[in-house]
């Protein structure tokens, strides 16, 4: 297993604009990515991550060119991007870079809003979904678990989480620039997803007086509304509610626009032109971009919000730097593990460990027996050595037997666990 067979391929908010990303959203059929990726030859392990800001496949593959091409094709299957243009929007990391990238994603260093807490949960969900379908194997299982612990380490050792501002924080900043004081203002959440919940939480902390939740399934709306002592309505009431609220946060999984310019124009008249702040955190977008052209309507989508955050980014950069150092350190550790995950180093480690134990025990035993001759000592040492060899003989044979690549990885992993070969590294940490 070489490090270079670990790859990450995907698009994120840095490489592709929302217009491109929304074409890649996998909302209609959650099983499709797993079904399709499994069919791709050479894609031995994979984990599929799709969030507001990124779609990426973390995978391992022995023969790569073919696999990479197939994954690109799969990602852009639903889009109108020409095959030649795909490379303009994607990133492909390999080996150490791939590991670093994944760690950075998990630790929210690659997020639109550095330090925002959602991504770790999203990555955990993505991993669970992939692992439940048995799409991940030895390498990715370890890599992702490591990624989670690296993220945790960064969160506790740096301040990146405490200053964690997210999209919703940016939205609050903007709302304050529009409304001044948020007390007494009302917010309407369209779609009852996690993001909407987080945004609402921030807004309520700033004094928003009422939260109204509109969702396709009323049950989820009711549940979310209960959290904020708000009320739930059906999507059909959207227009009527818009006459009353000041801020609208839209995060539905709808595949098209749910609110057009023509819908809102008459509503503004009803509202007597009271300002309306529309926040579109959905991908694909829910709200017509032309809404921003209406007087007293302010429309921000996910990309726009990032610019607001740019404003107070400097303070967090220092912490990010420390986090990057942790990432580098942890990447090196993982590389070490990968290197150890070969046959020869594993056998050597087994022998080394057995030898260390034997030497320690010998020293302990011999120190009690004072009346042994040099020859006796020699024989005892020899006996210890052959016990070791005999015990290790079968496991080593078992390790060497495998032909299948996948089997070999499993066996190595299994053996390393049985003999606790990685524990020593871990203890050093």
């Amino acid at each position: 297993m070489s490090v270079d067979s670990i790859l990450v391929l995907g698009v994120n908010h840095k490489t592709a604009p929302v217009e491109v990303r929304e074409q890649l959203a996998f909302t209609s059929d959650p099983e499709r990515p797993f079904r399709k990726l499994r069919e791709i030859p050479g894609c031995s392990e994979f984990c599929f991550l799709s969030t507001c800001n990124r779609v990426e496949v973390i995978f391992t593959s022995p023969h790569q060119m073919e696999t990479i091409r197939s994954i690109k094709k799969f990602l852009f299957a639903t889009s109108n991007i020409k095959e030649d243009d795909i490379d303009n929007f994607i990133y492909l990391h390999r080996g150490a870079d791939a590991i670093t990238h994944l760690y950075r994603v998990a630790a929210s260093l690659d997020s639109m809003v550095v330090g925002e807490p959602q991504i770790l949960g999203q990555l955990k969900d993505a991993y669970r979904n992939s692992a439940d379908r048995e799409c991940t194997g030895v390498i990715l299982n370890r890599l992702l678990h490591k990624a989670f612990s690296v993220a945790k380490r960064i969160r506790t050792e740096t301040n990146i989480g405490s200053s964690a501002v997210s999209i919703s924080y940016a939205a609050v900043e903007l709302a304050k620039k529009i409304f001044g004081n948020l007390e007494g203002k009302k917010v309407l959440l369209v779609g009852a997803g996690e993001m909407a919940e987080l945004a609402a939480e921030h807004l309520v902390n700033q004094g928003i007086s009422e939260v109204i939740v509109a969702n396709r399934t009323l049950e989820r709306a009711v549940n979310l509304a209960k959290r904020f002592n708000g009320k739930a309505v059906g999507l059909a009431e959207l227009h009527a509610q818009m006459e009353l609220v000041d801020i609208l946060v839209s995060s539905t999984g709808a595949s098209g626009l749910i609110l057009h310019q023509e819908d809102v124009k008459p509503i503004m008249k009803q509202r007597k032109n009271r300002p309306l702040f529309l926040i579109d955190i959905a991908v694909p977008r829910d709200l017509d971009p032309k809404l921003n052209d209406l007087d007293n309507v302010y429309l921000y989508d996910v990309d726009d919000l990032s610019q607001v955050v740019e404003v107070n980014k400097a303070e967090r950069e220092q912490e990010a730097l420390r986090a990057e150092r942790i990432v580098t350190e942890e990447t090196l550790k993982f590389l070490q593990w990968i290197e150890d995950m070969q046959l020869t180093p594993t056998i050597a480690a087994m022998r080394r460990k057995a030898d260390t134990i034997a030497q320690a025990e010998l020293a302990k035993t011999l120190s009690h027996c004072s009346n042994l001759t040099a020859r006796d000592i020699k024989s005892i040492e020899k006996m210890a050595g052959s016990i070791l060899n005999k015990i290790l003989h079968d496991p080593i044979l078992f390790l060497k037997e495998g032909h299948n690549h996948e089997d070999k990885q499993l066996k190595l992993d299994f053996t390393r666990k049985i003999f606790g070969l990685d524990l020593e590294h871990e203890k050093e940490e």
Binding site: N273, P275, D295, D304
Partner: protein, 269 residues
Amino acid sequence: MLFSLSLIGYYLSTTTYIIFFVTQKNKIRSAARCLLFGAGVLHTVTIISRYFLAGHTPLTTHHDTVSFFAWSMTWAFLSFRWRYQVKNFGTFVSLVIAALMTIAALSSQTIAELPPALQSAWLPVHASIAIIADGFLGMGFCSGLMYLLQERELKKKRFGVFYSRLPSLDALDNLIQHCLTVGFPLLTLGIITGSFWAKQAWGAYWHWDPKETWSLITWFLYAAMLHQRFIAGWRGKRAAILAIIGFIAVLFTLWGVTFLLPGVHSYVR
């Protein structure tokens, strides 16, 4: 001499306000405010001394009128400061004040003889009310301008100098409304007192001379604006633009009419 001192005071205050705008240090703002207050006091003394020099209310020459305009804007702003904290409003207002003072400084300071027909108690009442109204409407202009600048950055989503420095749109919108709700009744009162004076001086309440006509046009502009605001909810950008247009009409009534359209008011030069 006194006038030059107050002019320098205003310039210093404006410069300090601009420095505050760039650096956003609260100490500098306090300094700017003190300077403005000092300049305002000096200016008050200047106007009182002009009164004794002329022997009547010094509001009949162009120099005095514009100087009084600047004075009324200064005090309108300082009086507002008691009630509102509007971020960086001072920078904008002090710039307009400095501009007005410059214009006043450039025009002749000789004192004109007042025709006997105009020597009346209505002179100080009418002229000062009308110009104080202009002071408040001038602040409305500043807040309208600030609104448009802030609105532009929020709409374009490009956050430059103004986004962090200007207050929220809501605060600016309220500010426009407050300026107008003070300025407009004063403007109304100015026109009414003017017509009483006209009755006394020329025997008729209304002459349709250009200044009267234009002040009436200005009055209708502001009246329509306030009406639409309360009835149809014309607020935000539209209100800001109207506040700016209204002030341009005020300036035209002040200067355009005087220099372009001669009439009975044309003694004010």
